[in-house]
């Protein structure tokens, strides 16, 4: 077999890949998304497959496959999901760290998201804070804080009012001067190239919620496009896509000031998606929401973390809501994350 992955439909090859690791399967996912081919009708031939590849094959909807070198750990995944499989050689495990990281408690969807993040196929960018210190008017607000978030990871920062949660977000944005270093992906916040890269962080804060500026919901989402020069059609497409994604396209022409708190949050998140930002910073997003609005936001954030998977840092003091979100949560106390 000359290619690492060959996919055929009715004995005719429709897709091949020479990439390594799990990349051929992710390329196949792109191929399937571009073409209207039913994955159940495909036959897949792969050189090596372990548990991670098995999870991906199941997730893509492939039902039949032949693997040249198969890990025993993949077999339960295939059997549990009714995959017809054959192989040339069977080994108890393959030398791949990823296979060890897929636990039995992970669902196929969880495993897929984990693998996407590991493959770097998420919108999120890594965030790294090193010894970040913020003083405002001589008062120490953030004290030598260190934080590392991988691509597409989420974090809740909670704590009492006045502990510096918003200040921390503003420092990450480059709005509040600080000591130490903040890296977003490959760029240093406040560094030489930062001006061109700062749209990689999207910000949702409460001041804009109170705005009475005459602007439609669609125009708010369009702000996410920043200084990008594109045709009117392209602009409309990007805005519509983002608004449909967060379920607020029906509000397109409605005045922003007349929207409910929950609708404004949907519009704000659509703006972040339109911005194509790798990091979302959300400052007390539940402040103006009723219980139903909070529930809707919870579901929307959960969905975003599974699909586009931007890296998200959410600041909140609503303990009950935070627990429902089920993200990693750390308290900001005395200028440090506990």
């Amino acid at each position: 077999m000359e290619h690492s992955l060959i996919v055929s439909l009715n004995n005719e090859t429709v897709f091949t890949s020479d990439q390594h690791w799990l990349h051929p399967l992710f390329e196949l996912e792109d191929f399937l998304n571009r073409n209207s081919i039913l994955p159940v009708e495909l036959f897949l031939r792969d050189k090596i497959a372990g548990k991670a590849a098995a999870c991906l094959i199941v997730f893509l909807g492939i039902r039949r496959c032949h693997i040249e070198l198969l890990s025993e750990r993949a077999i339960p995944v295939f059997k549990a999901n009714g995959i017809e499989f054959t192989y040339d050689n069977l080994v108890d495990h393959i030398q791949c760290r990823t296979e060890d990281l897929i636990t039995d408690t992970m669902s196929i969807a969880d495993a897929y998201l984990f693998l996407r993040k590991r493959a770097g196929r998420v919108q999120g960018l890594a965030v790294k804070l090193g010894d970040v210190t913020v003083r405002i008017g001589g008062t120490l607000i953030v004290d030598q804080l260190n934080l590392e978030l991988g691509r597409g990871e989420q974090l809740i920062v909670h704590g009492a009012n006045g502990t510096g949660k918003t200040t921390l977000l503003r420092a990450i944005l480059g709005l509040t001067p600080c000591e130490g270093s903040i890296r977003i992906g490959d760029f240093v916040v406040g560094g030489a190239d930062w001006k061109k890269q700062r749209s990689s962080i999207a910000y949702v804060h409460q001041e804009s919620m109170k705005s009475n500026f005459p602007i439609s919901a669609g125009e708010v989402v369009q702000i996410g496009l920043g200084t990008s020069r594109m045709s009117g059609t392209e602009t409309e497409y990007r805005v519509e896509l983002a608004m449909r994604r967060t379920g607020c396209f029906h509000l397109f022409k409605q005045a922003y000031s007349t929207l409910s708190g929950g609708e404004k949050q949907r519009v704000s998140l659509a703006r972040c998606l339109c911005q194509n930002a790798g990091v979302f910073l959300l400052d007390e997003p539940t402040s103006f929401l009723d219980p139903q609005g909070k529930e809707d936001l919870l579901n929307l954030l959960d969905e975003l973390s599974r699909n586009e998977a931007p890296t998200m840092i959410l600041v909140s003091h609503e303990q009950q809501w935070i627990e429902q979100l089920n993200w990693i949560s750390r308290e900001l106390k005395g200028g440090k994350l506990c």
Partner: protein
């Protein structure tokens, strides 16, 4: 009335007022959206300082008032940034310092205070062709600026921090807006005077905001009302023989009251 329009000073006045009426309210929208109303007072006092300096040094007051206002804006912007004080607040200091400097010039150079204070009510009919072209060019530039930067301005007016995070150079845009406001105030003072300049600067956007649902609506509405007030007021002033600035302000005030009452209903 047509006979009067054949007189060059009257014709120049009408041309300039029409251009200013349609475009100057754009900066009124900027003033409201960026909460820069205190800045307007600084610029008005700056224009008086410019007038005093021009009379003292016997130079052109039109260009001097513009230059002084631009210098004031530069100082205001630099100190606002370095001292981390709101531009509106720091402008109060510059307002006081400029009026005090104006009186020093008036006293030391024996400038007739009455001449300086003519700036308070402006004079539309003593414009040179160079000044007419100057106002016209600025009006075109202002409209072009608004059109070219409409998306960035919309973001800036919606939320400055969100504009920043979406990649817009909101700092430069903000100061560009402040510069344009400075020039507009200096020109409007020359045309209809300090006391009545709000009639073409602020009342049109206020009335437009009653019905506008977007920045585009605000700008177009302001331009329309500004045009109606300036041209209508000018023609009214000729028809009933009252000062143009007063008739513009009176017309704007009547329309404001009518629109306000209609809005309440």
């Amino acid at each position: 009335m047509l006979e009067l329009l054949s007189l060059t000073p009257i014709l120049k006045g009408l041309i300039v007022l029409a251009l200013a009426g349609v475009t100057f309210p754009i900066t009124g929208v900027y003033l409201f959206r960026l909460n820069l109303l205190p800045l307007r007072f600084m610029l008005m006092h700056g224009a008086i300082l410019g007038g005093a300096m021009a009379l003292a040094l016997q130079i052109n007051p039109f260009w001097t008032t513009i230059a002084v206002n631009l210098v004031l804006v530069v100082f205001m912007a630099r100190s606002s940034r370095s001292m981390k004080i709101d531009a509106g607040q720091i402008s109060t200091f510059f307002m006081v310092i400029s009026i005090s400097l104006a009186f020093i010039f008036i006293y030391k150079f024996n400038v007739p205070a009455k001449d300086t204070l003519t700036l308070l009510w402006g004079n539309l009919f003593i414009l040179s062709w160079a000044e007419v072209i100057g106002v016209g060019s600025f009006a075109v530039f202002l409209a072009g600026f608004q059109f070219y930067f409409r998306h960035q301005l919309r973001a800036l007016f919606f939320d400055r921090e969100i504009a920043y995070t979406s990649g817009i150079d909101e700092g430069k845009l903000y100061y560009a807006v402040v510069f344009l406001v400075a020039i507009t105030v200096a020109l409007a003072m020359k045309l209809i005077g300090a006391l009545l300049l709000d009639a073409i600067l602020l009342l049109p956007p206020v009335i437009a905001s009653f019905h506008a649902r977007s920045l585009k609506g605000m700008i177009l509405g302001s331009a329309m009302w500004g045009g109606i007030f300036s041209i209508g007021g000018f023609l009214l002033s000729i028809a009933i023989d009252i000062p143009a600035s007063s008739s513009i302000a009176a017309l704007a005030s009547v329309v404001f009251i009518v629109m306000y009452l209609m809005r309440r209903k």
